[in-house]
């Protein structure tokens, strides 16, 4: 590795900690920032600090929030009877862009994965059960990822929630729109058949 001046080397090193950024990308970004105006650099560093200082987790749904409750929990026009459970806060964005869902969310902050040291205690399951216990919720949609970890988490949660007398549903898994059945593997087709609907 070439010898950079200490402040530059330090910046490159910090950037390398970001996901998907290797030595080369870090150098490119660092040189870009070095040439940028002082104002641009300040705006970037302030934006990073604001994310740390001004954002927290919503105490109800664990989504990222500015202030106390997040934008969805604050919104009284949303249907509080339906709860959609997702793994990560960014999963909400995907569902919101469809504009097809008007219920509330619950963010688990991960999926069950003993291999990565994540068991039920590491996920936000306790306050999910407490929310359900409060009595307003009638349906829980399990929208964890269609991976082995996401599926194991959904199965685990359904076993906890169903005995409480709620409707528990799982998002459909299967053939991506625009692809050809010929290229789908057996699990994908099996899951698609399982999630079929009346027409």
């Amino acid at each position: 590795m070439p010898d950079f001046a200490e402040p530059l080397a330090r910046l490159i090193n910090e950037l390398k900690h970001l996901p998907g950024v290797g030595q080369k990308s870090a150098q490119r970004l660092a040189f870009h920032l070095m040439r940028a105006s002082r104002e641009d650099a300040e705006r970037l560093s302030q934006a990073i600090l604001d994310v740390k200082d001004k954002l927290g987790l919503c105490p109800v749904c664990n989504n990222i929030s500015e202030g106390d409750l997040c934008q969805f929990c604050r919104d009284t026009t949303r249907d509080a009877k339906v709860l959609c459970v997702v793994e990560e806060p960014h999963n909400i964005i995907g569902i919101e862009t469809t504009r097809q869902f008007n219920g509330l969310y619950h963010v688990l902050h991960g999926a069950l994965s003993p291999l990565r040291g994540i068991g039920p205690e590491q996920l936000k399951i306790k306050n999910l059960i407490e929310r359900i216990g409060a009595g307003q919720i009638e349906e829980v949609i399990l929208a964890t990822n269609p991976t082995a970890e996401g599926e194991a988490t959904a199965v685990y949660l359904s076993k906890l929630i169903k005995p409480l007398g709620l409707r528990v549903t799982r998002i459909a898994m299967g053939i991506p729109v625009g692809s050809d059945l010929e290229f789908a593997d057996e699990v994908t087709i099996w899951k698609a058949m399982e999630g079929r609907r009346e027409m």
């Binding site: 996901p19 998907g20 069950l112 994965s113 003993p114 291999l115 990565r116 040291g117 068991g119 991976t147 082995a148 599926e151 194991a152 199965v155 685990y156 076993k159 991506p176 625009g178 692809s179 290229f183 789908a184 593997d185 057996e186 699990v187 994908t188 099996w190 899951k191």
Partner: protein
């Protein structure tokens, strides 16, 4: 080096860059390899559900002598473990199998018998027989330790060399986290062994039978969590001593 197709079992994946995965997989013919599966996390990838852990696949990849990571082109699913996920205990057992294989096997060394062991145990877990998770993981642990060449003598005391299985007076054996192998009660009392755990006569008999018979033919059928739990503990300790770290799935398995 040209493109290759190997029968393989996916051990573990790690998110990489925007939508790629780094995949650790065990091939029948080339041993454990690591590769990059480009765009594997996108809905229309060349990998479908094939990269879920312990999927059995035909993996197509490209290996360059100079690179540690191979490039994965795609895979064809032979057998998925998705159906086992309805049972959390079985799901944790899969993680346990994957972690041990990932940790125990050296990279790039073919071990066909180990590959067959994994296929056999996965088949057996898929049978869904009563107690199959406990019987499956115990059998797997024992043979994994044996095929890795780290199974200690089960019949003799490492301290005094006496036979542990003297038919006149068969006794419980002992093991400690700091020493390999088994010790008799006498050496345990006299040696400075720190904390020790027992390995019962019954569990040693089970181990003995498992080393002689295929999993489906074992006489002991009524398997529960308690069955041979001491044997699993002993085997986990042998693995942990060898890899010099703790297995994170072992406590999760016993608690599941």
């Amino acid at each position: 080096m040209p493109a290759r197709v190997s029968e393989a079992i996916v051990l573990q994946t790690y998110p990489f860059k925007e939508s790629d995965l780094v995949v650790s997989f065990l091939t029948r013919d080339q041993g454990k390899l690591r590769g990059v599966a480009k765009r594997a996390r996108r809905p229309k990838s060349n990998f479908g559900s094939g990269l879920e852990r312990l999927s059995q696949v035909k993996m197509s990849y490209f290996q360059r002598e100079t690179r540690e990571l191979v490039n994965l082109d795609g895979c064809e699913l032979i057998r998925s473990q998705f159906a086992l996920l309805g049972d959390y205990g079985a799901a944790v057992a899969l993680d346990y199998l994957a972690e041990i294989s990932e940790q125990l096997l050296p990279a790039g060394e073919a071990n066909e018998r180990y590959f067959r062991l994994l296929v056999t145990v996965l088949d057996y877990l898929g049978s869904g027989a009563a107690g199959c998770v406990w019987r499956g993981v115990t059998y797997f642990s024992l043979w994994a330790v044996r095929l890795a060449g780290i199974l200690p003598e089960l019949h003799a005391c490492m301290g005094c060399g006496n036979w542990l299985d003297n038919p006149e007076e068969r006794e419980e054996a002992f093991f400690s986290p700091y020493r390999a192998g088994l010790y008799c009660g006498h050496c345990r009392r006299n040696g400075e062994m720190g904390r020790t755990w027992g390995l019962s006569v019954t569990s040693r008999d089970i181990a003995e039978e498992m080393l002689r018979k295929p999993i489906a033919q074992l006489a002991h059928t009524d398997w529960r969590r308690e069955t041979a739990a001491d044997l699993r503990h002993f085997l986990v300790r042998q693995i942990e001593n060898h890899i010099e770290r703790r297995l994170i799935t072992a406590p999760a398995l016993e608690a599941a």
